[in-house]
Symmetry: C2
Subunit: 422 residues, 2 copies
């Protein structure tokens, strides 16, 4: 691909801004829809996806062919691939979102002021939500469903490798909305030929209310760094399991193996195990053996391990690798985690109540687990029914984000002529 | 002032980053303080301010002298000026914050999952909070008090015109903290000689958790545009009062005059009055007369008014000026507001329930008033006890921000060995 010229960039900018303006208009209507109208539209969209399955699969086959010709790795091809069963799953996902409680209109708090004013803080949609994401075409439909249920217009910027699949999916969704009398501009696909559409999206202050990037650390860092609209940072997880001196070692082993090997490529996977020096003599060889028996390569500064550098403490492996470190005590474990962690999920295994309370209080992360696998940090597991991502920032949302995290609030004040004394 | 050289900027960057790192260390301790410890520190800081009144006033006199010599306008000098009574008021403000409920540790929600995991979402401090603000030295102490009570370390970047006053105040606060065994780095003043310290603060990703700008539109826009850390946009208020066809015109007049003239320079002041065409014949001359009788200049497209351009619909006057427009109906009023408003506070005066419900539902703003003055959008008025600013963005906080808005949350999960099925 050649670098785009200034004129190209200006044209892309105009396309993105025009989409955002149309999304803003649509969002005014979306904010006024009843729950029943939104749920009917979600079911209609699911029906339309099933009806259009052949066309969607054909578009996906084109994407796959181009990706294969370009030498794309099998693992990425699998992420890009749609099958009849996967389309069925995507449609079911929309029906599941239809079944979730509608957050819009929830009264968060309220009171009657001494002067008789009745004030209520009520959930309202964010407005226009941008999503930037990588290969999986299912994110296109998931993001649309969650945005619609929470009353938001969605501007979707998927990867160019899925351009045909995404266009087919969004086309189906837009037709289904229009047939329900809902503005089709509630969901729009942004151009993905070059990266400038991302830049224009994340700098469209006043046109876009929030942008949520989903993908690797590189994508997320670029979006957060260059954004001028508010963003929600998601998904980088350098998670630790700390085996405390009072841990049940059977439990520790079971949690460690689950946290590391269940799905090594996801963000709630354990990347470092910390072992309390007081039990190191027994626990270290035992954990190393269990890890190696499960195909995990152990990195660390002990003899027989792959030597570890700062990179091992800092980065996610996202593979069957783990770093192992012996720490002096709970203090040292907390310090190591607060220095190297990414604020995603941290776990302690211990039978000691005081240690558990101290760990949960002092570790600075979106989720802190006591005697449980890091793998539980997940919107479905937490009972949210669906998840738009896992926030690792502290503003607005932290941890798994469900429908309420796609809303803002508004203060509604009822009076009968009150004026404020000077 | 000459432009700083690269070396100067690097040096400022190092000063800001070093402060931020020390703030991070202090924030670990702050997060663990009990409510009683924080309240005792707030009272001790208030005592220390009263004890150091002479030194503070002397430093302020130096700032005032320099400002006067530089030709600063009287209104700005008044904002900069401290008096014995103002220092008393600032100290009382700290005691008031000590009396507010501590948001840290509040359980926001929680449940027991089917697998027995007990999950709780608990309020925790944000960590390191940056504040960028203009002349008033009282903001230095207010921001410190709110940050401390919510368990946050504060990095304060005031204006250079208040540099000596701020240094004196922060010096007193730091000594008072240290005497209570709390890290003095919980509050730090950043250099204000040139603007690069603002840039370094708002780009210190990973070191600073949130930056809140307080000041004019120029400052806020610059901070939000260039920030790489999350920010909260505050305070620009182009507020409207809509006189609906079913308004009690006595009530409308009283609300309009209060909303415009109570304090014209603040963000919740009315800047435009919209009048329903159905009652324009009576209401327009009446409102114009009432406004003019109260010293307000009326801009608009009617004969006898100062002619209005788009600027009149878009900008805050922050003075005894108002724009007036006749609109066809409620739809037109909502459209005008959603096009020109800044999402701060919008009011309707009406006796009609349907119109009131429609206005509150369709107007997109932090606060929507029915039959009440826009002047009520204020943390104290809403019963928060204190206010860090008024957010006009939709993420994290919208409207008046109190102590809970200075917190994040953390999920704490208790288990007894749960692992997640594959």
């Amino acid at each position: 691909m050649t670098a785009p010229t200034t004129t190209d960039r200006d044209a892309v900018r105009e396309v993105v801004h025009d989409s955002a303006r149309r999304a803003r208009v649509a969002s005014r209507t979306l904010a006024q829809l009843t729950t029943a109208q939104k749920d009917a539209a979600l079911h209609a969209a699911a029906d339309a996806l099933l009806a259009a399955k052949d066309a969607v699969l054909a578009a996906n086959a084109e994407d796959l062919e181009i990706a294969k010709a370009g030498g794309t790795a099998d693992s990425l091809l699998d992420r890009l691939r749609l099958t009849a069963a996967r389309v069925d799953g995507i449609a079911s996902g929309l029906r599941q979102v239809a079944g979730l409680p509608d957050p819009v209109g929830d009264v968060v708090r309220g009171s009657t002021l001494p002067n008789g004013l009745e004030i209520r803080q009520v959930r309202v949609p964010l407005g226009v939500v941008g999503m930037v994401y990588e290969a999986r075409p299912n994110v296109t439909v998931d993001a649309f469903g969650l945005a619609l249920k929470s009353g938001n217009a969605a501007l979707l910027r998927g990867s160019s490798s899925a351009a045909r699949s995404n266009a087919a999916l969004v086309g189906v969704l837009r037709e289904a909305l229009a047939a329900q009398g809902i503005p089709a501009d509630a969901v729009q696909l942004l151009p993905s030929e070059d990266r400038s559409s991302v830049t224009h999206l994340i700098q469209a202050r006043g046109l876009v209310d929030v942008v949520i990037p989903r993908g690797g650390a590189g994508l997320i860092n670029a979006v957060v760094r260059d954004a001028q609209v508010p963003t929600i940072e998601t998904g980088t997880g350098n998670c630790h399991v700390f085996v405390h001196r009072d841990a049940d070692l059977d439990m520790a082993e079971s949690i460690l193996i689950n946290a590391k090997t269940r799905r090594p490529s996801v963000c709630n996977t354990a990347e470092t195990v910390l072992i309390d020096r007081a039990v190191a003599e027994v626990a270290v060889p035992r954990m190393i053996k269990a890890l190696e028996d499960n195909g995990v390569t152990v990195h660390g500064d002990l003899p027989g391990l792959v030597p570890a550098t700062d990179t091992d403490w800092a980065d996610e492996y996202l593979s069957l690798d783990i770093a192992l470190k012996v720490v002096d005590d709970l203090d040292a474990a907390v310090e190591h985690i607060n220095e190297w962690g990414t604020g995603h999920t941290e776990a302690i295994v211990t039978a000691d109540l005081k240690a558990a309370r101290e760990f949960t209080s002092r570790v600075d992360a979106a989720a802190v687990m006591v005697n449980a696998s890091t793998a539980f940090t997940d919107g479905e597991q937490f009972g949210f029914g669906a998840e738009i991502g896992i926030s690792t920032q502290k503003l607005h949302a932290r941890g798994p984000m469900g429908l309420p995290e796609l809303t803002s609030t508004k203060w509604i004040v009822w009076g009968d002529g009150q004026i404020r004394p000077v």
